[in-house]
Amino acid sequence: MLDFSIVNIVCIVINLLVLYIIFKKFLFDRVDRVVMKRKEEVDEATRAADLATQKALDTKKEYEEKIALADEEKEQILADIKKQGYDEYERIVSDAKKKGEQIIIEAKHNAEVENERAKEVYAAQITDMVIDAATKIAATKHSATDDRELYDKFIIEAGADNE
């Protein structure tokens, strides 16, 4: 029962090695090949997904930069517009002031001219009155007393008109 046979032990060892080769070739290698291919596909898909994610992140960053730039531009444009508006406002107000002053000057000038004209008209009326008075005196031979009365009357009338 316990007799050892070297030949049979060697046979068993060879059998085990052959069995290992059978398992390796017809089971492990076949399973590993399929699993490896599947793993490669998964790795490839993961790599592609990583690449796409990276690309998306880059694009997002780019857009964010562009948006930031656009915000700056918007601020600049708004500032420019505000400045332009303020300048325009200043110009309009300044023009209005100038025009107003011009109108006032012109009005003053017109008033002066009108005043001069009125004075001239008044002087002409006085002249006419003097002529008229002289004519009347010349026509009626008045005494010195009459003349003095006439002059006084004239002066009073002239003063009343001036007031």
Partner: protein, 236 residues
Amino acid sequence: MDIKELLKEILLKDKALIHLPFGNGKFDIYESVVVTWIIMAFILVLLLILTRDFKVHNISKRQAAVEAFVSWLRGVVGKNLGEEASRYTDWIVTVLCYLACANTIGLFGFIPPTMDINVTAGLSFMSIILVEAAAIRKKGAAGWLKSFAKPMAIVTPMNVMELAIRPLSLCMRLFGNIIGATVIMELIKHLIHIHSVSVPAIYPVPFAFYFDIFDGLIQAYVFVFLTSLYIKEAVE
């Protein structure tokens, strides 16, 4: 036939099945070797059928089951081997499958090859070669020799003795368990045969489940578990 004769027949019968002429004499090929060839042929055919038309996508249920089974077996064995000795997983799985078939082949009327001490000796020899080869590969020849003096120089003789004790214990444990189970089953069958009138034929079934299947599988697992532990210890 009494029990004594039965035991003689089981334990002392001529194991030689094939007599090959060699020089002036001959050498015998034992029945265990021939049954091993039958197991190998069965496994080869089974693998050819199971692993036919393996695909990467749209796999069949058969392929899914095979992949899951291989993965599970590698997981069970790899857990005992550890990370550093994972390269030896396939060999251990091969031995486990062979032992599972060899220990349970008694169900089909064959004599289990592991009932022959030459088979368990061959298995143990391969195991210890693998353990020491793993140690030499990991530590180098000098490191392997130095490892005999660890943890202390005084234990060196015991460590050297372990070179023989480990395979001997593996060999004897498997051989003893399988021959014990076979003897018990033969005795039960003999008793049933003697008392066939009063005992229903179904009585040996639970015993067959235990001794032919459960015990066979447990012993297969114990053998590869211990081998895995030795390899793990050798590469640490």
